[in-house]
Symmetry: C3
Subunit: 351 residues, 3 copies
């Protein structure tokens, strides 16, 4: 029983992070090595040679295969042995490194954690703005020394912007607008509607119009570990609503929190937008700015994790602003329990 | 069952260490945040927001209250919620951070560890020279990576000065004088009388007289974790005795060892004296000198702690010179056992 | 039950590492202090004063004795108390630091780990080339953060040279020659014969002759933790064989892996040779070169140890090239089990 869902897709890397050279990253407690084949398809193997366990990420890529740099065992992209340390020795094809199923979508490399037979790309969360026509998408990678769920809490409650980001993007208005929170069995939505307000500088520049705006923030959690935040403004009275709002300018903040260990995670942050889509300079500036904002979150999240360790008699509490995070955690823990039950049933049926 | 006594006062800080800004220190395993109210009274709270556990020491003081810098929960100086993260949300007054009782005395900030109902300033150990007319008192703070009891052992047996401080304050004479050791149920005294000896340079300068002196060293342990060392010289034959010795010059070394964890502690060292009381330069020089002497102790104490970990099959042994430390440890462990018994009784009575 | 054999001799240090000053090293989990007496015999004691456990390696040597630098307890070279902290106090001769039996042979300081009554210098592994006439011997010390058995595996299978030392001593020929592996109850031999091959540069220079050579590599494991590798070449057809090969030039690589903890060890590497025995420059150059080669092994071995920790669901596997290491590990684990059984029997007999 861990803190994360299995039989699920997790983001392992940005597409550009992985190339022909071996790349090591631990995903959900499993050390993995990634590299691209000559046809640019991704290979993902356990990062330990099946012979003497030297990390394969220290190995040498040969064509689509990888050779361990200790004794030279050569494994194919499926992890199966192709050459023994002694070249004249017959290959034992039962020798293999655990191979993982990957899929590229939305500029991310996804890896399936769980039973291979259940891997289905249709289960990848729908992050449609990352690939929709008329939109552009880019982002960055950060390592964070806290439980991935603390980041989900953070993203499902934007009131923290007022305090954590007081000097950058924080705004008192966010505290004043009420939220509504709804959920189904895979998603949680926290929705905030701010009608006829003054557009903050960022959105005023994006909209390029004067006058009051209707503004929205919709945080959507997707099992197992992503949050998509729909943000934007439209001219007040132009007919935009929480449900439908293509009238103005719109951005989608994409966040994927991939557990590394129980108390560290990989944070993939990106932003898709439907304005200034051809302005690469906008993207660069925005990534740099976000890097500064995120540094503020990282300080808080890592201090929070340390305080959890230092005060073992205390528990996290939740107030009304936390309902999004609370429901997201409920979906995660239900999914973990359901899987445990399923495994018990499968074991009984197989007896 | 820990290594320290509860239902007791511990020194949390020198008075000057705590001001209006939040100040973090872990006392007896409890992370605490301290700050002064506008009236300069001390506030002490658990250093974890009751909401999402971010350390309150990262928060913002507002008047006498403190606001968490994550979601803005505002707590009063008693730890009780005064404002929710959403300002229009009714305050739930059951939300509170654990508050600790403090008391200022002898230039120290004392904190009560244990049941609040039993906190009584009369239980603060009597360190009278820190506040007596005709005396002056100052000192310093050090962090030491060892069990606080190793420091008590160190202070209750000054023979170590000959070896550890061979280049500074060590003197062979200390080894030659016999000691007497007595105890009651809260204190242990180790007393050493050196009649008609040559005054060492420090005391000769203080006495400002030639000729042989009677010299004394009286180490007094006070439950739970302080040692007061009465040191001085008087002209030989002037009538001074171990029991009464106001004839010459006299200093009181004050030491408080506050546990941080099982194997680290906060060391508060000070010296009160009844000579040169208006010479601030004397105080400065003496503090600087003591810093060097203490650096020698710190090396030994931390090496000792590491050796205890590295040799789990061995135990500390005690010889005649150690009787003061042995009795002090007995008082500590008796007090811990008595408390455990008391708790069992209270539980039985409440059934 | 540990990973190493007890009732055995281990190399504690090179002879030159230990002099009159106290020298600290942990051997098989036991912190020890070593120093030489005036007659240059080695003293080995537990590195913790029997009084308050300060490491004796921080003490002061006085003649053949050592005085603790905390309270001045003075211990003789047998570990028995000679002076109490108070000089006029009668010495309690039951006070003693655990003393270990040592023996100097082959330029190494050996220490007996286990029951003193069973210590017998005849049990020191026979590393005859380190002391034979017509041979010279020198080497170096390295600290390695891995289980000592990973180093034994490394040395009992030289095929790793092709990959780990591709830029230095690696050669494809090693992969092509078959090996034979034999064992008795204390030793394992892996033997490789390469007839009529081209001498690699190192051996060509040593032999100082042109033409094809017969080349051998014989790795010999000795319980509990040493490997001796017999390497060399002779002119092809000169009658050299795996069993007898004094015709050409010959070196003996001597390796002793002394456990420090379960996952760190002290590595003593040396080389004995029967050529250029008076060329001290050769020795110096060879030690420097070996330092570089070993740095390559250290990277691999420590990465391997980390991978073992990071992949707790995996096990080391063995192929044909590993038979030497596998048999060496079998001898080690059989010796550990036999000792455990022996202890049980001794306990039963004593009842």
């Amino acid at each position: 029983m861990t803190t994360w869902v299995t039989n699920a897709w997790y983001v392992a890397a940005w597409d550009a992070e992985i190339d022909h050279q071996p790349f090591a990253r631990t995903i959900c407690g499993l050390p993995m090595v990634f590299y691209r084949k000559l046809n640019r398809k991704i290979v993902a193997l356990r990062d330990a040679c099946p012979h003497r366990m030297l990390p394969l990420s220290k190995g040498i890529r040969e064509g689509d295969s990888i050779r361990c740099s200790y004794h030279g065992l050569k494994l194919g992209p499926d992890g199966v042995a192709e050459e023994m340390p002694l070249k004249n020795e017959p290959v034992n094809a039962r020798i293999c490194a655990e191979a993982y199923i990957t899929h590229e979508r939305y500029r991310f490399v996804w890896v399936w954690i769980g039973e291979a037979a259940k891997a289905d790309p249709a289960l990848i969360p729908d992050l449609w703005p990352c690939a929709a026509p008329g939109w552009t998408f880019d982002g960055d990678y950060y390592h964070v020394a806290c439980d991935f769920r603390l980041m989900i809490d953070n993203l499902m409650d934007l009131t923290h912007e007022t305090y954590v980001h007081a000097n950058s993007i924080g705004q008192e208005e966010i505290l004043e607008a009420g939220i509504e929170c709804v959920a189904d069995n895979k998603n949680v939505w926290v929705r905030r509607w701010m009608p006829a307000v003054t557009a903050p500088p960022f959105w005023r520049a994006a909209l390029a119009e004067e006058g009051p705006v209707d503004r929205w923030q919709i945080c959507q959690f997707n099992l197992p570990a992503s949050v998509m935040i729909d943000v934007g403004v439209a001219r007040a009275g132009s007919g935009a609503s929480l449900d439908k709002h293509d009238q103005g300018v719109r951005g989608m903040v994409i966040d994927f929190m991939t557990p590394e260990t129980e108390d560290t995670h990989h944070y993939f942050w990106g932003m898709a937008r439907n304005f200034e889509v051809n302005d690469a300079g906008f993207t660069s500036r925005f990534k740099a700015q976000q890097g500064q904002v995120f540094a503020e979150d990282k300080v808080v999240l890592e201090a929070q994790q340390q305080a959890i360790r230092a005060n073992p008699d205390m528990r996290l509490n939740a107030y009304s602003i936390d309902q999004g995070g609370v429901r997201a955690r409920q979906l995660i823990s239900r999914a973990i329990k359901a899987q445990a039950l399923e495994q018990v049933n499968e074991q009984e049926n197989s007896q």
